[in-house]
């Protein structure tokens, strides 16, 4: 069981690293807006200007 003397401090070092990383992220403002990114993931990424889609905008296309 004396392995505890090695493992526990090691675990604490890892926790410390996680805490430091979290603080850094918070200070950089990563948690400032928690709502919009959830909507942003819905957007497609092919946003090159001029790539016009032929699909005409007609709501739901029931003839």
């Amino acid at each position: 069981m004396s392995i505890l003397y090695l493992v526990l401090p090691l675990a604490l070092v890892i926790v410390g690293a996680a805490v430091v990383a979290f603080s850094w992220a918070a200070r950089r403002g990563q948690f400032d807006d928690l709502e919009t990114p959830a909507l942003r993931m819905l957007h497609d990424d092919d946003d090159r200007a001029g790539t016009s889609r032929p699909a005409p905008p007609t709501g739901d296309s029931t003839p």
Partner: protein
């Protein structure tokens, strides 16, 4: 919903409404006049057409694939936004990024869903030179980063508007910075406290497991204890410091604050745990202590977030108020500048009807200025070159030029508004009551804790300490303290989205029980404009009357012009004479026409005796007779019509127990007539009241009752300020906005009913919250004294009680819930913009 643009549907439009045609951009029905035969796309307004064209031209048709799109037409204001390019605007709102780009935060009207985010964030595709546009949907704030060498901010603003999101400079930028720092610190504290709590918990579980089985080797137990102690110290020093700071402040001000019992519980746990660690005996409380810190911090953070979300809505209204002024430059040209850019020495061009934007001295022109905002004086004051004028006062009759002496924060009105702002931080008596209760509560709990420890210490000191600590923790009166502010905050936020802006919690309390309700007439009960209420006469007379009234400056002429708009262009007037106090005599279209008061017309034309009952259908209307070629042919009755919802609203309020009275400056007979139409007795209708008289009436009732004064500003400002609760209604002057406790942006009296009902329901939620948290604490205290819960269970129970109050406030029925949409403030904006331009 589908757009029905098939030819068959279009063929029926106009003849029979088979189906509404939906706008291709926003989906609202297209007005018939806008329908284009055979076109595949239909639009409800020019704004939507522009937005659609922009999207199509840039290959952004994908916007139409989003299930939830905007469902309001695009409102185009046609502004140039040139003031956005001014250096004063830059110093106020624009910051620099690390890459050397300019960055600004703009508040956008009309943002509400995922498609808005997508659209706004595509602005860089529309405008080369814009590097980034990011929208925070919760607050409708768009962060724009652009290269100010290649594109102007005004162009970005115009692009945003053409997409349907008119931008406004966001005034809370500086406060936002502070708030952001606070938020980031809070989140860091939570993160650190959480990580520590979890790890101490792991050590604690190991130790508990050891006690439950055949015991742990003491060297390992000792190791776990020291590790827990080592972890707890940073938790107390960094995240836990908040509570000790609060407790220390409470001790210094000799007030019993909520942080005090928390700090005592934490210290007791840590000290006892440390002693046990050093002496290698008994339990350590580190797990309970660290978990308590973590849970308390989370609870506080959530509470703060909830309160902010609620106050944001009403604060954004200030971002919507017009912030521009007209300045004469060296060349003599007039330019629009942001109000923030005004400097002493500049010359302002103030048109009639404009609000003066800064304190200064008149250099050109003579006019009458309304000083009511500053002095409460409702009678206009005549100004001429050399006279001093102040920001916020209304220029009434003629254009003037003003040299600025003091602008912005220095002006008298800014100081006044700061006072108003401070007075809005007043706390409802019930809030004070809850805090007083909390004070007693803390005292009782501390005494109980000491007794619990002393009584139990004779048998088992550590168990006694356990119980005392559990008692201190479980009875933490967080719930009690949060009950009122949270309920009030949620209610005001919800009310703000309904167009009811409540500035302080005490107003809610005062409105929750009926009292005396004083209503101003003009503009509050009535629409504050002259309309043709009744017309007894043939159609062919109307164009003749319009022709004569076209050029008249008399207030009644306005009513005719609006009512007969269909007859424009009116027939030519060959000659006309205005007789002051009588009417107009003229020759129109080959006829001799006389329009005027009954006596004036009677003296100039034959009047049948049958028609001589010159009485109007009711006293609030002014009769106007029309004679053509010497014979009376028509009688018109003009007046200020009562709002459609007035009668039902007043009946509802009286049914709820309010004593409703009219208090107006208009002629007593008119006021009585309006009152009669609304079912009020003559005693309940007071007319001819000067502003001073109104103030006196409010004061006289105030001795014995709660008085609510409702008015539209200028002549009511003093009375509104003096009343228990002052309410400024839609379209009112800034004076009422400044002095009122509540400001309604929805026209009519129906919002008043909603306000009273909402206030009553809010108080019910508050009382429920207080009762619940007291009951919870009594039960918890009893369990702790009896030794039935240990500190850890107490630490878990305590934040749960706060959580129930949070949920109770959030889900309690106060005001009707409406989805977050800045459009709630749009009517006010429109009015504000209209009054400014």
């Amino acid at each position: 919903m589908g757009t029905s643009t098939s030819p068959s549907a279009l063929a029926h439009v106009g003849a029979v409404r088979v189906e509404q045609v939906a706008c291709s951009h926003c989906g609202l029905p297209v007005p018939e006049g806008f329908l284009e035969q055979g076109s595949a796309t239909q639009f409800c307004c020019a704004g939507c057409r522009t937005a659609f064209a922009i999207l199509r031209d840039h290959g952004l048709d994908q916007y139409y694939a989003f299930a939830d799109r905007r469902t309001s037409p695009v409102r185009a204001t046609g502004r140039t936004y040139e003031e956005f390019d001014h250096e004063a605007f830059s110093t106020l709102y624009v910051t620099r990024t690390a890459e050397g780009l300019a960055r600004v935060e703009l508040f956008l009207e009309g943002v509400h869903c995922a498609s808005c985010v997508w659209l706004v964030e595509r602005v860089p595709l529309l405008l080369p030179g814009v590097a980034r546009a990011e929208l925070n949907i919760a607050r409708s704030l768009a962060a724009i980063e652009w290269d100010d060498g290649s594109v102007k901010l005004s162009a970005v603003a115009r692009a945003l508007e053409s997409l349907g999101y008119p931008p406004h400079p966001y005034l809370g930028v500086r406060r936002d910075e502070v708030r952001r720092r606070e938020d980031r610190t809070a989140i860091q504290r939570i993160g650190v406290a959480g990580a520590i709590a979890v790890n101490v918990m792991l050590a604690a579980i190991a130790m508990y497991a050891g006690w439950l089985s055949n015991g742990m080797e003491s060297q390992y137990e000792q190791f776990f204890r020291w590790v827990s102690l080592g972890l707890t110290i940073p938790a107390i020093v960094f995240p836990g410091r908040v509570f000790f700071a609060g407790a220390w402040a409470a001790l210094r001000t000799r007030a019993l604050h909520l942080d005090l019992p928390i700090a005592i519980a934490l210290s007791a746990g840590v000290v006892r745990g440390t002693i046990n660690t050093i002496t290698d005996s008994g339990p350590v409380y580190f797990d309970g202590v660290t978990v308590l810190i973590f849970l308390l911090l989370v609870g506080r953070y959530l509470q703060q977030r909830g309160q902010r979300a609620a106050t944001d809505a009403s604060e954004l209204l200030y971002s919507l108020t017009p912030q521009g002024a007209r300045v004469v430059d060296e060349a003599g040209a007039v330019r629009e500048l942001p109000a923030a850019a005004l400097l002493p020495g500049m010359i302002l061009d103030v048109r009639a009807g404009d609000t003066i934007a800064a304190d200064g001295v008149v250099t050109e022109g003579r006019s009458a200025v309304n000083l009511s905002l500053l002095t409460g004086e409702s009678r206009p004051v005549t100004v001429e070159p050399g006279a001093a004028v102040w920001a916020g006062t209304l220029n009434i009759s003629a254009p003037v030029r003003v040299r600025i002496d003091r602008a912005g924060e220095e002006s008298r009105v800014a100081k006044l508004l700061r006072q108003v702002e401070e007075s809005t931080r007043r706390r409802a008596p019930v809030v004070v009551l809850a805090n007083r209760m909390a004070g007693w509560f803390v005292a009782v709990v501390l005494v109980l804790a000491v007794i619990t420890y002393l009584v139990g210490a004779r048998h088992d000191p550590s168990a006694a300490l356990d119980n005392a600590i559990a008692l201190l923790v479980v009875t933490c009166p967080c719930a009690l303290a949060m009950a009122t502010p949270l309920a009030v905050t949620v209610a005001t936020g919800r009310a703000a989205r309904r167009g009811l802006f409540i500035k302080g919690g005490d107003a809610i309390e005062a409105l929750s029980r009926p009292g005396i309700l004083l209503l101003d007439k003009t503009g509050t009960i009535t629409e504050a404009r002259v309309s043709l209420v009744r017309w007894d006469g043939p159609e062919w007379v109307k164009p003749l009357v319009l022709a004569l009234e076209q050029e008249s400056t008399h207030p009644l002429a306005d009513g005719f012009r609006r009512a007969f708009a269909e007859f424009v262009p009116a027939p030519a007037v060959e000659s006309s004479t205005h007789v002051t106090g009588g009417g107009i005599v003229g020759r129109v279209d080959g006829h001799d026409v006389v329009v005027g008061s009954p006596s004036f017309v009677s003296s100039r034309a034959r009047v049948d005796t049958a028609a001589t009952d010159a009485h109007a259908p009711d006293d609030s209307l002014s009769p106007v007779w029309v004679a053509v070629d010497g014979a009376l042919v028509a009688r018109a009755f003009l007046g200020d019509p009562v709002r459609a919802d007035a009668k039902a609203s007043i009946q509802a309020l009286r049914a709820a127990g309010w004593s409703v009275r009219i208090l107006s400056g208009d002629a007593p007979s008119v006021v009585r007539a309006v009152g009669r139409a609304l079912g009020l007795t003559p005693e309940e209708c007071q007319g001819g009241a000067t502003p001073e008289e109104k103030l006196r009436v409010v004061e006289s009732f105030k001795g014995t009752h709660r008085v609510v004064m409702v008015g539209d500003g200028v002549n009511d400002a003093a009375a509104i300020a003096a009343a228990t609760v002052g309410i400024g209604v839609h379209g009112g002057a800034e004076a009422s906005l400044a002095t009122a406790d509540i400001f309604l942006t929805t026209p009519g009296l129906a919002p008043l009913v909603e306000l009273m009902q909402g206030a009553e329901r809010t108080m019910r939620v508050i009382r429920r919250n207080i009762a619940f948290s007291l009951a919870y604490n009594v039960v918890g205290a009893w369990l702790a004294i009896a030794g039935l819960i240990n500190p850890v269970a107490a630490a878990i129970m305590m934040p749960l009680s706060s959580l129930t109050v949070v949920l109770g406030s959030w889900y309690g029925s106060t005001f009707e819930r409406t989805p977050i949409s800045p459009n709630a403030a749009a009517p006010a904006t429109a009015a504000a913009v209209a009054s400014a331009s």
